[in-house]
Symmetry: C3
Subunit: 174 residues, 3 copies
């Protein structure tokens, strides 16, 4: 963590940087939704956007069930794999989850009111060129492999994250 | 969300902006309290302050029970209305809530030690001219109407929020 | 809160400030871990770092059990003292805590993979000169005394926090 390329953090700041950096460590549906709305909103209005996914937030980048193929893993990593949600379509609410009823209600209401769901927003974010970085350290801890992640995700460390944060108009920890 | 005025986000930055932007999506008593202490502290020391309330955070802006009058609403929206706290006097702690005993203890201690409560801080924030923006998209999702919100709240979208964030010394996601 | 030194907040900004400010109000193991990884990463790459601990986040700065000695306290403060974790070795996960099994698993995996634990990171942060500020107001509320905190912690208010935030490249609320 301290060994890898930390030069970028100390690099000179370009005035007029137009970047939004989001550090997402949560996999609560409501927080992920907010993060993606902000990311897509910023990207579609011309800001560069970096999203750094760490810890529970890594769940958002996982391929849907079945899509990652079968993988041989040690017991503990298999356990993590089973317990963590697979992608933005399987998240729980931080409140009023009510055994999955809450998220269903919100997805239903969003569809009715023509509001983009987390899955759609993640796709749009990728189309708009949002930088998606998966924290290598917490991937190692949870035994998540690069092949289990959706396309377009790059691995990164705290230096990548801080480097972008230092060149951003705003950095949000979600 | 992507259609509305996003121009402001890409607008030129004025050097020397003195603004604090707080995006509040939580209605945990402890987080709301922290957000309001920071907002009032910043406003009373001469910073411009914007608070953007979204998702659960909208609860903070609701009028107290009874004060909003009776409203005809579809079942789902009525359900949300019943389940979400009405104003900063009815919030739960994120930990040690103990069926409402925790918040009571904190309010009691705050009174003893002459520390402003969330209700008082929200009033002070309004007096000090803190900008209070309610996220229109999540209001729609939860079926909350403008008439149910306290005085001085303006509706806004992600562009409003990002616009202020881009002109702030610090932006906090709480 | 509004009376103490708020001058610093309104002070002129030095261009090229190289500071990261972290406001930590959580004592979830995963969030504390993330905060400390970011703090140590930033400090070891040459940024000045301020950490402001408030509310539940104060737990992180507490001396380990027994190390603080016996103290006479009113009942309510004694209760808080018993319920709040004592230092970064006793934190719970925000999810998958499983009565303490979750944190054990993560500490075990971190050791296996040679990843620094929260306790080690806090020590490193102090060695690297990270500024550790304990929120006086919430210490008062919870009845925590300065003697119960580890070495090198300074008391501070919202003005201290905002002062550093206004001179930072990024400010994170965790």
């Amino acid at each position: 963590m301290r060994g890898d390329n930390t030069e970028s953090v100390a690099g000179t700041t370009t005035d007029g940087d137009r970047r939004l950096t989001i550090i997402l460590t949560s996999n609560d549906m409501d927080k992920v939704w907010a993060a993606l709305v902000l990311a897509v909103g910023a990207a579609s209005s011309g800001l560069a956007v970096s999203m750094f996914f760490s810890f529970w937030g890594l769940s958002v980048l996982r391929k849907r069930a079945g899509a990652a193929g079968h993988m041989k893993k040690p017991l503990l990593e298999r356990m993590f794999g089973l317990m963590l949600p697979k992608g933005p379509g399987h998240l729980k609410l931080s409140k009023m989850n009510m055994a999955g009823l809450g998220p269903k209600v919100f997805r239903h209401v969003a569809r009715l009111k023509n509001i983009a769901s987390p899955i759609e927003l993640l796709d749009t974010a990728r189309e708009l060129g949002v930088r998606l970085v998966a924290c290598q350290m917490t991937m190692d801890m949870m035994g998540l492999r690069h092949e289990e992640m959706i396309e377009g995700v790059e691995p990164g460390g705290v230096a990548t994250c801080l480097g972008d944060a230092c060149h951003s108009k705003a950095t949000l920890f979600i």
